[in-house]
């Protein structure tokens, strides 16, 4: 069989070892004794490198499960200081940042150091570890030969170039390792012919491949999304992984050991990825590649922004205040720009864990669009327990925890002094506005994106889009219009779609994008006038819906 041929070149050689047996896996998830767990880890030689790896892994594994921090992300700096070897790597990171990425790539860090950093990379997700384990076992229950598994709307797989599983949204990586092997085989077969696989199309679903050396990302989607959109989502997953490891580290790991099992480093991060995927299925932010602001009176927002601005520190690059997945305010270092994707990743990071509510988190994070080779250090905390208002301070200095923590204090102080605190609370009580406010009877929902600011606004999704699948269907329609409007070879300016359940209109200009969803009874003329009314309304409301004057320190 030709397929076998590929197998050989694909994943059997050189890393002939196939997926670890379930027994081993089960052990890994249950046993608190790393030695054993790792001892059974397949594909292990006895090189010092491996030792280190093992050690580090054990450490990280302990961190994940260590009872004393009870899943809390908060790790007091003292605790960290106690650890050897770290300073170097810390210096390393700060150095990384100050002398911006490129050099780093050139540097030959040995695997051990890599691992250390990666350990930092994984400090943050640890609180989910316990939950993650349950998720993991949950996955194991799913039989990948069952229709229920097949019929998932969107599968996502991440694998190494060696064909080793890195992530699977449904079903355990082990059970899927042979499938992933085939995926890799297909990829490499075509690359052998100086070609590149893009996608496979069949009735009712598509398989999309994204090649991001040293990783391969594959999605199997039954959604109406276009190939590009799915690829776009896979990229998010890729960046998500980078945000934990940095591109540099990722590459080094595989340069050192082609068949390295990346899951060791990512263990615990699955939940973030899962969350990201769920988020993308509901939140148009990712489709729009833009950020949504919390509707807020300009005066209040300005007060907040100035407060943030004033609560600055030398090492701070970005100060971000957000609520849910909506931006309240963002202050940045002069001529440092935060890419929406990076912001989305931050949003996702925060939304994927409730534990940040429990205090101040100090965690390294890579913002791949900003710089994929180094770590920032994010100070994450909620202003008040019951208030859904999260402060995110991004610093370049790993040592600056207290400084940054102090910034938060100062910020809160100023807020209080400015007395906007109450106004904020008010605003938070209604984080979304209703489309009814626009005052167009047949208008059901819309998305307006201002291209210059990378911000968009959209009302709450209301009836008839109440049930989850209805919400997803609506987003699906937006995705459909979006993909047609942005078709790489045949873009469109206007789309008017009349379906049995609703009418939609898309309007794309160099300055903005508008998508409206409209009652099926509405006429085209009605829709046109609605668009004009709506544009007036947004103009009128813009200072409430958008951040018109971005602040810098």
């Amino acid at each position: 069989m030709a397929a076998d041929v590929h197998k050989k070149k694909g994943w059997e050689v050189p890393n002939g070892s196939l997926a670890p047996g379930n027994g081993q896996h089960a052990e890994r998830s249950e046993s608190p004794t790393p030695g054993l767990a790792q001892g059974t880890e397949p594909g292990k030689g006895q090189s010092a490198g491996q030792e280190g790896a093992m050690f580090v892994h054990t450490r990280s594994y302990e961190d994940l499960t260590s009872p004393e921090d009870g899943g809390a992300v908060v790790r007091s700096p003292e605790e960290r200081r106690g650890e050897p070897a770290e300073p170097t790597s810390m210096e390393q990171i700060s150095k990384d940042f100050s002398e911006l990425s490129t050099q780093l790539t050139g540097m030959a860090l040995d695997l051990e150091e890599e691992m250390r950093q990666s350990q930092e990379g994984k400090l943050e997700p640890s609180p989910q570890a316990t939950r993650h384990d349950s998720v993991l076992s949950g996955k194991e229950e799913e039989d990948v030969t069952m229709d229920t598994w097949r019929m998932h709307r969107k599968h996502v797989f991440v694998l190494s170039e060696a064909g080793k599983p890195v992530y699977s949204r449904y079903g355990s990586e082990e059970a899927l390792s042979s499938t992933m092997g085939v995926m890799m085989a297909l990829v490499s077969f075509l690359e052998a012919e100086k070609n590149a696989i893009r996608s496979i199309h069949a009735d009712g679903y598509k398989v999309v491949f994204v090649r991001k050396s040293p990783l391969v990302l594959v999605a199997v989607a039954r959604t109406r999304q276009s190939e590009q959109e799915i690829a776009h989502e896979l990229l998010y997953i890729y960046y998500q992984i980078l945000s934990l490891l940095t591109w540099t580290q990722l590459n080094h790991i595989f340069q050192q050991k082609q068949n390295y099992d990346l899951r060791r480093l990512l263990a615990g991060s699955e939940r973030i990825t899962d969350n990201l995927l769920d988020l993308m299925a509901h939140d148009p932010s990712f489709l729009m590649g833009a950020v949504r602001c919390l509707p807020l009176a300009a005066s209040v927002r300005d007060a907040v922004s100035t407060s943030l601005q004033q609560a600055k520190a030398k090492s701070l690059v970005f100060s971000i205040l957000l609520s849910g997945n909506q931006l309240v305010s963002l202050v940045r270092k002069k001529d440092q720009f935060l890419h929406p994707i990076d912001l989305h990743l931050l949003f996702n990071l925060i939304s994927s864990s409730s534990s940040f509510r429990e205090g101040e988190a100090w965690t390294p994070i890579c913002l791949p669009k900003f710089n994929s080779s180094g770590f920032f250090h994010a100070h994450i905390s909620y202003l008040e327990q019951e208030m859904d208002l999260c402060l995110l301070l991004v610093s370049t200095d790993r040592e600056d925890f207290f400084t940054v923590s102090d910034c938060k204090r100062r910020f809160q102080e100023r807020l209080r002094r400015r007395g906007v605190h109450h106004a904020l609370q008010e605003a938070l009580r209604t984080p979304f506005y209703s489309v009814a406010q626009v005052g167009i009877p047949d208008l059901r929902h819309f998305i307006y994106k201002s291209k210059s600011s990378g911000l968009f606004t959209s009302p709450e999704i209301e009836a008839p889009y109440v049930r989850e699948e209805e919400k997803e269907r609506l987003l699906g329609l937006y995705q459909y219009l979006h993909s047609r409007a942005h078709n790489s070879s045949r873009p469109l300016k206007n789309i008017y779609f009349t379906g049995p359940r609703e009418n939609l209109l898309a309007w794309v200009t160099s300055a903005f994008e508008l998508y409206i969803c409209y009652s099926p009874l509405g006429t085209k003329a009605g829709a046109i006038s609605a668009v004009n009314k709506l544009m007036k309304w947004i103009r009128k409301e813009e200072d409430r819906l958008f951040i018109l004057t971005p602040q810098t320190y």
């Binding site: 069989m1 030709a2 397929a3 076998d4 041929v5 590929h6 097949r150 599968h155 499938t179 085939v182 995926m183 085989a185 297909l186 077969f189 075509l190 070609n195 590149a196 696989i197 893009r198 996608s199 496979i200 199309h201 069949a202 009735d203 009712g204 679903y205 398989v207 199997v220 109406r224 190939e227 459909y480 047609r484 078709n487 790489s488 070879s489 045949r490 873009p491 469109l492 300016k493 206007n494 789309i495 008017y496 779609f497 009349t498 379906g499 049995p500 085209k524 003329a525 829709a527 046109i528």
Partner: protein
């Protein structure tokens, strides 16, 4: 045609081309090292054996791989940077694969040519349909793969495939110049998806005349099993079932007719007329079979076709006889080989009547034209298709030529139509979509019950409402008795 200059002096666009086309059956070479046995046909033939095996292997792998996600609905196509591969399993375990290279833009960076593959240009539905038509066409003239296997195993099947796809089946009157060369991948579009039938508009009376003509012919030439009647390459009557007619129609209009220019067109007293074979009381002549009835040596070999292959499985001789713009297909049971006498009889009976009928139709048609008023250049071009009766109408395409059916609008607009069409086919609800392209053309797609209508408007500065009005008008004038839900 292969390379159409795309404006920008240095740039050069290379049209999509057929890279390879092969047919295999995994069951035929299951064992390691026997892979070559699976391959039943491979184009281009020159390709080195191992590469053939590898490419077939890839297809198998793709299909197998997708079965893990949908055991019953495996891959239909594979998109890669350089090409697209289309898979079709017309009969169990028989796979047809067509590999089409993406169009390329050839740029020149400091003297060296740089190739840029345009990955979003080919429309899956279009080329999948082309692939399916390849099978239907093969089946029409050869019967099913399985039948060939029954007749004489792999050997016979391979011969038939080679004969059909590579060589001409007949010296004197070839079915196709070279089938794979007739695909014209660069000009495939929505019409290939529909593979519809254009019907000739005709008043009731003339139609009834044709009916009774056909009935009489079938009575007096009693070995005739089925008849089909066309005028101006448009169908008027088919005794065959819809699906068989569909592909036969495709053959007639894209291959047979274009290869026979009509002497009549040159007018009654033109020199060509004099040369016309047979007597001059009528314009009738055979498009298949004997060239000259007066030649006692004349060969009466007619192409064989296979119809109703999934039940009665009938094998027929295809006699195509034409007078002026009227063409009749007589299909007679293959067990009765038509003799020269039969052909002469047919010529003497059908020829004169068909000639008269043809001029009647022409007359009537012109009258009707006058009734409906001279068509002034409309503000729109459209394609219409009805899945129920396969009726197809396009004001976008010029008359079919042996080479291609040329679209009169920019290829990008045609592709937008294709996009809309594939969007429609995802759900079977009635939908309408109006879009404005970057070129400021408006394109409208309308799907109602079994019908699809695509309109391209060339009033660039019209707004949505005006466009909507235009389409309403169009529906009222062109389709006023059609039940369009809106």
């Amino acid at each position: 045609m292969a390379a159409a200059a795309a404006g920008a002096g240095q740039e050069k666009q290379l049209a999509p081309t057929l890279l390879s086309f092969f047919i295999y059956n995994p069951k035929l070479g299951p064992k390691e090292g026997e892979e070559e046995k699976k391959i039943l046909f491979y184009h281009p033939n020159e390709v080195e054996k191992n590469e053939k095996i590898r490419n077939v292997g890839l297809c198998e792998a793709i299909v197998q791989f997708t079965r893990t996600f949908s055991p019953t609905k495996p891959a239909k196509s594979l998109h890669t940077q350089k090409n697209r591969q289309f898979f079709h399993e017309p009969e169990e375990n028989f796979w047809m694969v067509m590999v089409v290279r993406n169009p390329i833009i050839e740029k020149h960076k400091d003297g060296k040519p740089v190739y840029e593959y345009q990955e979003e240009e080919l429309l899956d539905k279009v080329y999948s349909s082309v692939l399916q038509q390849c099978y239907s066409m093969y089946k029409l003239f050869n019967g099913t793969f399985l039948k060939a296997m029954e007749d004489g195993g792999v050997k016979v099947l391979k011969e038939r495939l080679e004969k059909f796809f590579h060589r001409n089946s007949q010296k004197q009157r070839p079915l196709f110049s070279q089938y794979l060369q007739t695909l014209h991948l660069q000009s495939c579009d929505l019409l290939d998806v529909f593979c519809g039938i254009s019907f000739f508009p005709l008043d009731k009376m003339t139609y009834l005349k044709i009916q009774s003509f056909i009935n009489r012919m079938e009575e007096s030439l009693n070995i005739v099993k089925y008849t089909a009647f066309l005028y101006n390459d448009q169908l008027i009557w088919s005794g065959l079932e819809q699906d068989d007619m569909r592909i036969l129609y495709k053959y007639l209009t894209t291959s047979l007719f274009p290869r026979h220019m009509e002497p009549e067109l040159a007018g009654r007293d033109s020199p060509i007329r004099a040369e016309m074979p047979g007597n001059l009381q009528h314009y009738g002549r055979f498009l298949t079979g004997p060239l000259n009835l007066n030649d006692p040596e004349a060969k009466c070999r007619f192409p064989k076709i296979f119809v109703n292959t999934d039940d009665t499985y009938e094998e027929l001789h295809l006699i195509v006889y034409k007078a002026m713009s009227a063409a009749v297909c007589f299909m007679i049971d293959a067990s009765i080989p038509p003799t020269l006498e039969f052909c002469r009889k047919l010529d003497s009976i059908v020829g004169p009547q068909l000639t008269v009928l043809a001029s009647d139709i022409c007359e009537q048609y012109n009258i009707n034209k006058r009734i409906s008023g001279a068509e002034k250049e409309p503000q729109f071009k459209f394609i219409y298709f009805n899945h129920m009766n396969l009726a197809e109408k396009s004001t976008i395409h010029m008359r079919k030529t042996p080479s291609v059916s040329l679209a009169s609008v920019h290829p990008d607009l045609m592709k937008i139509l294709g996009d809309i069409n594939s969007d429609f086919s995802r759900v079977d609800e009635d939908e309408e979509i109006i879009v404005k392209a970057m070129s400021d053309y408006w394109v409208v797609g309308k799907k109602s019950d079994q019908r699809e209508l695509y309109v391209i408007l060339n009033q660039k500065n019209a707004n949505l409402i005006e466009v909507n009005e235009e389409v309403k008008k169009l529906c009222a004038t062109q389709f006023n008795n059609i039940f369009f839900l809106d």
